[in-house]
């Protein structure tokens, strides 16, 4: 009995050292040395190189019309309390929320909104939207930024990540990166007057 | 081997020639639903309702408890003036659950009644007769007393036409005995003092001659009495596989108990209070009542089938074990070959003519009562016109284990001998004779073809060799082929030398043989096989077979055999038929298969019952579930008709399957894979589909009825 206990406890100590000390330390060393950007959370720094704007992997909220909006978040984009809505498809609350979101995005039967724009993401921090969801917002953004819809759409196309199609990956657009790119374009180019519908 | 087989041999050979099929001698065939037995079983099924009795069968006990609960709820409903429809529905459920229990009891009682009827018909041979008890062995004086007064060790003289009053051993005389009372075989058998055919059974009749027997059993304690008692006792004992299956069934019942019990609180979540009788109905539908009801009947029917084949098994376990047999030890003579060897050729050596050989061999066999001896004489009469008369004052030399020769000393002093080749060669050399050239090669040539050489000598002159040949039973190798498909190894047991044995083994197509088999060799072989994890069955009759019979997993003793052999085995074959082992194995397999198939059927049935009951239960609160009512039940009678239909199906499937339970699932020697596929198709897939059809039909029938009486 005592022998059993001693062996069990000693085995705990040995495995703890291997699994919880040696293994993560080795990985940390390796990660920091080879992939410092990724290991630290793929952070995006502002022009001053010290302010963190966000992480390219973490969604942030966009409310201004000049920006593409991210997918709805059930946790208000809190990256320290991530989560989904966990609402069932037959839940009247979800139906109401979807209705509200569709109305906010000015969806009409003629111009229905893509499903990802009215459905909260699983993590609440989904950094991507589908290209269709981006196109859906192109008119609004173009109008505010005084760009042609075509310009915006072609920007969306260049920003669409199609990698991994061979393994079944859906095409996707990183909202933060797209918006940063937009800001860069509009600040670099002189403002043009464009006819927007 | 035996005088007994000799008498029967011609008959059996024609049977074999007629058909390769394994057939049963239905000595006591019974109709499946004999009216008298049905009456008896019906009465018994009510008596069996005693909970103490029902507890042995956990599945049916659960149904009985459910019936009582349903009845209580029904009474409550009446007292609290519930709607008439509800009361009628609950009362109908109570009745249906009750008859489910009754049906189960009926199945068991019917099987029991059949077993009893078989046993009784055996016991009926046990009648009071008069017996002439001798004062002592050897005297002719004695007294006539009732057979019930006979004690072990008494000597009884029995004349032709008299019934043998008790089990015993013949100590003097030889007689033909009609054993049809026990075996159903009309052909008489010979019983004589000494040897392995000395056992006689009380209740059989002496047809000719007079014998004296020594009584070996106290009244009511005869071997048959004890065996019958064992059989009847065995009905009450569960066999190992039956216990294991009962555990499986009990566990399934427990799972379903939880499934149904959990439904009540789960329904509360949906603000629905489920009707308790309906839940009980669902439970009864789900638990494996079909197999639960028929399990005991299947076991009893197995014993019953053994009895029908004239085999008395000492326990149900033995019958069940028979299905597991891996190795069969079969005696060559009478099983693989017809009766005995026959002389087919005289081979002359060293200048003698075949005619000389025939003459001497014939004379030497004059007093030889063995079948071999007789066949030599027969052949000699044709070939050498031996007249069959031995000169007066000749003396006969009988065969003994020491000399291994037999023959005759003629009055003028000529000594005629026949015997095993090496013994005879040694014998003439001792007398100064010379073994002729080519002797050994002739002997070997005969032996290597599976025949037995028998040397013939006149004084110190070796004249030649008699060729004794074994005749294989027609179709025997096909039968072994089938046994192999069943997964059995057949081992031939013979007293022949290895060379002969090998040749016959090859001809017959057995897997192995034991040559020059002594009781020790048999025992050693059985132990070796068992050491490899195999189960061995053998058949035997002699006292010296007793150790091997006891060692074998299934030892079948022939009824004609000695008391010792019968005590040692775990089955007795009343027909003393050496091929009976094959049937024993089949009965065992059939027993297990029937259990497995009906269990599968029973559980597979549940799927349909779910589709009938679950939508019916929840349709009121969750109308969307109507989609699940794929049988389209509950049309007019409301939800209750679906539930009642499922319960009715569950109940009537029991009597419908009684024939299968009693007769057993058809066994075919086709190998395990094919058997499993077949049974899965019939009882698995069939078990899934049948209730869908059955429940729908019942629903169609009861639906208008229910609307009429206002249930639903």
């Amino acid at each position: 009995m005592i022998r059993q206990t001693v062996h069990a406890l000693l085995a705990c100590v040995v495995t703890l050292v291997i699994c919880s000390v040696a293994y993560p330390l080795a990985l940390w060393g390796l990660g920091t040395a080879l992939f410092p950007h990724q290991a630290a959370g793929s952070l995006i720094y502002g022009p001053d190189k010290t302010t963190v704007i966000g992480s390219e992997l973490i969604a942030q909220p966009f409310a201004s019309d000049k920006y593409f909006v991210s997918r709805p978040s059930a946790v208000d984009y809190k990256a320290d309390a991530a989560g989904g809505s966990n609402l069932g498809t037959k839940n009247p609350d979800l139906h109401a929320k979807v209705k509200e979101r569709a109305e906010a995005l000015k969806a009409t039967p003629e111009k229905p909104v893509p499903a990802d724009l009215i459905a909260a993401s699983g993590s609440g921090l989904d950094p991507h939207i589908s290209p269709e969801a981006a196109y859906f917002q192109a008119d609004r953004v173009a109008a505010v930024r005084q760009m042609t819809v075509e310009q915006v759409k072609s920007l969306i196309d260049t920003m669409t990540d199609k990698s991994g199609a061979v393994i079944g990956a859906p095409p996707r657009v990183n909202v933060l990166k797209l918006n940063l790119e937009l800001d860069k374009e509009t600040s670099a180019k002189p403002k043009e007057t464009t006819a927007s519908r | 081997m035996s005088v007994d087989t000799e008498i029967k041999a011609p008959k059996r050979s024609t049977e074999d020639a007629r058909s390769l099929k394994l057939h049963r001698r239905h000595a006591r065939t019974l109709k499946l639903f004999d009216p008298a037995m049905v009456r008896m079983a019906t009465i018994r099924s009510f008596a069996m309702l005693d909970p103490r009795n029902m507890m042995r069968n956990p599945v049916m006990f659960l149904v009985e408890v459910g019936t009582v609960l349903t009845a209580i709820v029904t009474v409550q409903s009446i007292l609290s003036h519930q709607a008439v429809g509800l009361i009628l529905y609950q009362a109908a459920l109570t009745f249906l659950l009750f008859i489910t229990v009754i049906f189960a009891n009926f199945a068991e009682a019917l099987a029991e009644a059949r077993g009893k009827a078989q046993a009784d018909s055996l016991r009926a041979t046990r009648q009071d007769t008069e017996a002439f008890r001798l004062f002592r062995l050897g005297s002719d004086e004695g007294e006539t007393i009732s057979s019930t007064k006979l004690r072990t060790g008494d000597y009884v003289a029995i004349e032709a036409g008299q019934v043998i009053p008790a089990d015993g051993e013949v100590v003097a005389g030889i007689a033909s005995v009609d054993e049809s009372a026990i075996t159903g075989e009309s052909a008489p058998v010979i019983r004589e003092a000494g040897g392995d055919h000395s056992g006689v059974t009380g209740g059989t009749r002496v047809l000719s001659d007079r014998i004296v027997i020594e009584v070996t059993a106290e009244p009511g304690q005869s071997f048959l009495d004890r065996m019958i008692a064992l059989v009847e006792g065995a009905i009450r004992h569960k066999t190992p596989n039956e216990i294991a299956l009962t555990i499986v069934l009990a566990a399934f019942s427990l799972i379903f108990l939880i499934v149904t019990a959990a439904l009540y609180p789960m329904a509360k979540y949906f603000e629905l209070t489920l009707d308790i009788p309906t839940l009980i109905a669902l439970l009864v539908c789900l638990i494996p009542t079909t197999i639960g009801a028929l399990l005991a009947a299947i076991g009893i029917a197995g014993m019953d089938r053994a009895l029908m084949a004239n085999i008395i098994a000492k326990s149900g376990k033995a019958v069940e074990l028979a299905g597991d047999i891996d190795t069969l030890l079969l005696d060559k003579t009478g099983t693989i070959t017809i009766g005995n060897r026959k002389a087919t050729q005289f081979v002359a050596l060293g200048g003698a003519t075949p005619r000389d050989v025939a003459r001497v061999a014939g004379l030497a066999s004059m007093a030889d009562p063995t079948p071999e001896g007789k066949s030599i004489l027969e052949l000699a009469r044709q070939d050498a016109a031996v007249d069959g008369e031995v000169p007066h004052r000749s003396t006969f030399v009988e065969f003994t284990a020491q000399t291994r020769m037999s023959g005759v000393n003629l009055p003028e002093g000529t000594r005629l001998r026949k015997g095993a080749p090496d013994t005879v060669a040694k014998y003439i050399t001792e007398l100064g004779g010379v073994v002729p050239d080519g002797y050994q090669s002739t002997v070997d040539a005969i032996a290597s073809r599976g025949a037995t050489p028998l040397a013939v000598a006149e004084d110190n002159r070796l004249l030649g060799v008699v060729k004794l040949e074994d005749i294989l039973k027609p179709g025997i190798s096909e039968r072994f082929q089938r046994l192999r498909q069943m997964g059995l190894r057949v081992v031939m047991v013979t007293g022949d030398n290895p060379l002969t044995a090998k040749a016959i083994a090859q001809q017959a197509g057995v897997d192995d043989f034991i040559a020059q088999a002594t009781p020790e060799a048999k025992l050693a072989y059985i132990r070796k096989e068992q050491g490899e994890g195999k189960l061995v069955a053998m058949m035997g009759d002699g006292t010296n077979d007793a150790p091997a019979l006891a060692q074998a997993d299934i030892g079948v003793a022939m009824n004609s055999g000695t008391q010792a052999a019968k005590e040692a085995g775990n089955m007795v074959d009343l027909d003393s038929d050496p091929t009976k082992l094959i049937e024993v194995v089949e009965i065992g397999k059939q027993l297990l298969m029937t259990r497995g198939a009906l269990t599968t059927f029973s559980i597979a049935n549940d799927l349909a019952k779910y589709f009938a009951v679950i939508p019916a239960m929840f349709i009121a609160t969750l109308p969307g579930l109507r989609v699940l009512d794929i049988m389209g039940l509950a049309t007019r009678g409301g939800a209750s008709s679906a539930i009642l239909a499922a319960v009715i199906f569950n109940a009537i499937i029991i009597p419908l399957l009684i024939p299968i339970a009693l007769k057993g699932v058809t066994y075919r020697p086709v190998g395990a894979g094919a058997l499993l596929r077949r049974n899965l198709l019939y009882y698995g897939l069939g078990g899934v589909i049948a209730p869908f059809i059955g429940i729908k039909l019942i629903d169609l029938m009861i639906d208008p009825l229910m609307t009429m009486v206002g249930i639903g």
Partner: protein
Amino acid sequence: MALAPTSFLHPLWAFGVPIAASFPLGWMMARSLDPKEAKAGKGLDALPMFLCRLIGRKTPVKMSWKDYCIALLAFNAALFVITFTLFYVQQHLPLNPDTKGSLGALGYKDSAGVQHDGVDTGVVFNTVCSFVTNTNLQHYSGEQHLSYFSQLACILWLMFVTPACGLCAMLAVLRGLRGDSHMGDFYVDLMRTVLFVFLPFCFVIATLLIASGVPMTFDAAAKATPLDGVAAKMEAQTICRGPVAAIIAIKQSGTNGGGFFGPNSAHPFENPTPWTNLLSVASIVALPMASMVMAGKMLRNARHAAVLYGVMLTLLITGTSIAIWAETAPSAATHGLPVVAEPNMEGKETRVGPVASATWAGMTSGTSNGSVNSMHDSLNPLAGMIPMSHMMLNVVFSGIGAGFENLFIYVIVAVFLAGLMVGRTPEYLGKKVEAREVKLAMLVMLIHPVLILAGAALFAAQPFGAKTVANPGSHGFSEILYEFTSAAANNGSGFEGLGDNTPAWNVATGIVLLLGRFPALVLPIALAGFLAAKKRVPETTGTLRTDNLTFAGMLIGTVLLVGALSFMPAVVLGPVADHLVALK
């Protein structure tokens, strides 16, 4: 997002990669975990022997099944006590840059909606039960409630040693079935599995994950100033991170499933790209699949192992296909609204998409893993039914070792019924299956439905359960049912809307977790021990073969029938009714 036809390539990869990997992996596992007597302790194998000497075991012991079970249980008891203590006092321990408090001071909201702050030892009990049983059901949220120390010293450690325990139990069962005279030495097995299977496998996976964007840092959470923060009323965003990659690798490959972050692999830091998604889903099933290949090698009966592997794979492919089919339908919530009729996206990530989400749902529930890359609560009802069904059957790979042990129980029952049907006393791998074995097998079989149905029934009928659901009607019932199923199957995924961090849930699921794990881990070892002691019966043509299609069919039939019969009513009331009942 319109469903690209290429989406359907994902399941092909998700099945193809791990199946292809399972053969070399299984071969290596058999060689390294069960070396020949002569090779034990030589070469690389000297390392585990050295570790065993460190804990005071000089030479490997030939354990009987009883000794093996005792050693296994003693080790698990030690795990329980140590991790309970560490969670409770994490605020006093190092590596806590975000100053998390004791896990026992989490607080909870009761079913009446009243908040109770600073108390809830239940969650510590539940968390310890959950991680000691290799389940990883999480009633806390990793990034909010655990210090880095707890993540590493408790979560990470248990994630390594608990699947190792499952694999050890499988090794013991295999040795018993093989007819060995002893079951091996538990501690040697433990060290070998950790050193030779989990560590190298995880190191490779973790490195690939870091390269793809999974953080591996001991720095505190990053403070970001969002681009449109002013307009969106979010001046600052706290981005939690940590030594994520180390945990995610073992989380997936050790059938653990407990996320570093609350949303698990739906969180972009756990699963940043479609490539990591494929890598993760493949590593979820790779080792469970490989363990079946190992079984074939160890039993020297590749055909029988192929039957078991095939049965598991058939169930997994069938279930996953149904989930994919159901999940590519639009959400009922969008009915009648101006929304493009395309697959349900609620609770899903764009980079993963509906097909990969449904594939993952099937695989994670089939392997006792329980990590999720979408919120199962928001799946379409029939798609949500699949993970539930996989966990109810509990034999769809279902863990590394633990799944084999569960299927072993079904095999015993199938062999018993099939054996009878061919007219012989049932036998398995040459050993007779008799009353004693059947009794044990049925006991193990009973536990699973009892835990799920009794638990779900109790919580459905009582306010402490019924009031904690996040969704009304059948879906709420599904949440309760799912939670108990996940706990009993030691899976760990959940319909996470459920307010399960209450004392009632913590205690009830904690107990279910323990009862779902240890009897099913230890009793098969006993069963194998019983069989090992029996004489081997030679095989004849009359013997039921367990290595052909007929038996595979029989086994699938047994699993499905027993599963359907045990759980059909509950499933009908939950997801099926949810699907059939119209949206009010």
